[in-house]
């Protein structure tokens, strides 16, 4: 018994000695390595960059998806034609508005004739000179620049002609943007994508950066930057229209584009009712989680209201959206559009002028509504979208549009000039640049 007690006592003393060893003054053994320092944000040289923030800018979306029979794209009347009625001929087209072709230097005769019997030509954005003219107009009318739409399903490797088309149009636009000092930014449209297509954006985006030296401040001093980084847009996240990709797919993509060192700023194109997760929006908090990881959100407002109910709809959403965004430290850009018409695309006469332009009253109501609600920049849908009749560029007046068999084309109101919506968008630009003298009253030209 005594022996056992001695052994226990010895063990206790040894234990106590060991536990006191730290106070002996000897150098402690090195501990395990600490966590690595957090990765630093990527730093870009913005010397000479003309657009270092989207704030105070008025920019439009640029489809650039048209092709003309005979141009080098070899895509025929792409996006002018309508497959549902047999192509591009009187009585069958996908466009409602017709471009005012007066100033284009490269034109292609079309299957349509004007009321005076002459051929009604068209342009192709595959041609450098036509895109140059568009950017010249932007400068002439004070529109800050455009977001180049890049439809993911059209630029996949298996769609060689599509990819070549959009790369050529982007090349034309980058050159013109530099020439006319207009802001330019790449905007991916996820419409029609699968999950794999969404993941493909990372690869395409890397290719574009390499192909065009996109982030080189000397090569592209007008590429849009935001929060000290180049901006890229991912459009079409959170819509509840049974898309084949998920919010999680988009979240993963945003994570890859930004990387651990926050390589880019991201603008996310979301449905109109994104904040309350209802109507056009998937009821998933994952959308808000993703939005908080991005830098700007731009809700899609086309078709969500007309002039008649704009105040009712936007009055309840816009200012509250902006307030939510401020609270969550995400910038917010509202969308405005001049009107809507897709009777030919849908082969339905009821869809002509379904959201009337009202000589600009509708567009200006949204501009003023955005301004009053606290917006600091605008996204105008769109510069050249004549399939859905939201274009602001020069289009033929109603009495000047080509004949269209038993159907019709929609024109700019006859008592307006063909550049009226370019001019009016330019007025919005002046207001958002800080010029005085503007109010909810429609500017008089």
């Amino acid at each position: 018994m005594m022996k056992k007690f001695k052994i226990i006592l010895l063990a206790a003393l040894l234990g106590a000695g060991y536990s006191c060893s730290k106070s002996s003054g000897s150098t402690p053994p090195p501990g395990p390595p600490g966590p690595p320092p957090p990765p630093q944000d990527t730093v870009y040289d913005e010397t000479g960059c003309l657009f270092t923030s989207y704030n105070n800018l008025v920019m439009a979306g640029y489809q650039g998806w048209f092709a003309a029979e005979g141009d080098a794209s070899e895509r025929g009347w792409y996006h002018y034609r309508n497959g549902s009625c047999g192509g591009f001929m009187p009585g069958c087209a996908s466009v409602d508005f017709w471009p005012d072709m007066t100033e284009y230097t490269k034109k292609y005769p079309s299957p349509f004739t004007l009321p005076n019997g002459a051929n009604a030509p068209l342009y192709s954005p595959y041609d450098e000179e036509s895109v140059d003219l568009h950017f010249k107009w932007m400068k002439d009318y004070g529109i800050d620049g455009v977001f180049m739409q890049r439809f993911v399903v059209e630029v996949k490797n298996e769609n060689a002609k599509g990819k070549r088309h959009f790369n050529k149009v982007l090349e034309n636009a980058l050159k013109a943007a530099k020439k006319y000092s207009r802001a330019i930014c790449v905007m991916y449209d996820l419409s029609g994508c699968t999950s794999a297509d969404v993941a493909y954006v990372e690869k395409d985006w890397a290719e574009l950066q390499q192909l065009f030296s996109l982030f080189d401040n000397k090569t592209h001093p007008t590429y849009l930057r935001h929060k000290k980084k180049p901006l890229v847009v991912i459009w079409g996240v959170g819509f509840n229209d049974n898309r084949k990709y998920t919010i999680a797919d988009a979240d993963a993509l945003v994570g890859k584009l930004k990387g651990s060192n926050n390589r880019v700023s991201v603008m996310l194109g979301v449905p109109y009712y994104w904040r309350s997760l209802r109507n056009d929006t998937e009821n998933s908090q994952a959308l808000h989680t993703l939005i908080k990881k991005t830098d700007i959100i731009m809700p899609w407002a086309v078709g969500r209201y007309s002039s008649a109910n704009y105040n009712t709809v936007a009055g309840g959403e816009l200012a509250a959206d902006i307030q939510w965004s401020k609270t969550n430290k995400v910038d917010y850009v509202p969308l405005v559009f001049p009107g809507f018409s897709w009777g030919n695309l849908k082969n339905n006469a009821a869809d002509y002028n379904s959201i009337p332009r009202l000589k600009g009253e509708f567009l200006w109501k949204q501009v003023a509504g955005a301004k009053m609600s606290g917006a600091t920049s605008l996204y105008v849908a769109m510069f050249d979208e004549i399939d859905e009749g939201t274009s602001i560029f020069k289009c033929a007046r109603q009495s000047e549009v080509p004949l269209n068999g038993a159907k019709q084309f929609v024109g700019i109101e006859d008592d307006l000039q063909t550049d009226h919506y370019l001019w009016l968008t330019g007025q919005a630009g002046k207001w958002f640049h800080g010029e005085g003298g503007f109010s909810a009253a429609l500017p008089v030209r």
């Binding site: 704009y310 105040n311 009712t312 936007a314 009055g315 309840g316 816009l318 200012a319 509250a320 307030q323 939510w324 109501k365 949204q366 003023a368 509504g369 955005a370 009053m372 609600s373 606290g374 109010s439 909810a440 009253a441």
Partner: protein, 228 residues
Amino acid sequence: MKTLRYILLAGVMTLAAACEKDNFDGPTAGLSGRIIDADTKLLVEQDIIRGTTIEITEHGYDPVKPQVLVVKTDGTYENSLLFENTYSVKPMRGNFVDVPSQDIQIKGKTVLDFSVTPYLRVQDLRVEKVGNLVVATFKLQQNVAGNVVKIGIYADKDQRVGEPMRLGQKEQDINAPADPNTTYRLEYNPDEFKTQMPLGKEYWFRVGALISIGEAKFNYAAPIKLAI
């Protein structure tokens, strides 16, 4: 007789047992706060009738009907009889941009202020006697998309005067967005209301404007006391 006594005794005992106090404590917590203009830091003036309310929904019960607090005309609110618990709190049908619901722990006297953007701000207000009239001049700042439905000056003996609680008024339909460059002018004629508000006394006047958004309430300047 003896049987009757037993029956009465049993009845009294049953009643006594039924009247025994339960073991639950009464409500000891309370919630109060202010509706504050995010820019001016002033309280956002309200209507006492059909004005802004705050819905508080106690957690842990399903289904549970929200309690409704009426915000006072000066933009403050209070309920001092709540049980300690977690609640969802949300202003409803207000005169400011929608704010999201907040989940808070109400314990003791809890204070929760809301920083909001009013739909409209009545600015540079002057209310003065000009001859026999009370003339109000002011500007409007609009902070949301929409039309100003109407503007008005309202008069009452009570300081809580507003569009739904007034003895006299002068209103003007606008039906257009506020023009920041316009000085709006309303002329109130006391003679028209002297039956209910005899001349030679002091009354409260408050100027307000209504935006065209769904369930929006009037936005006001602070009330002013004036002798007429």
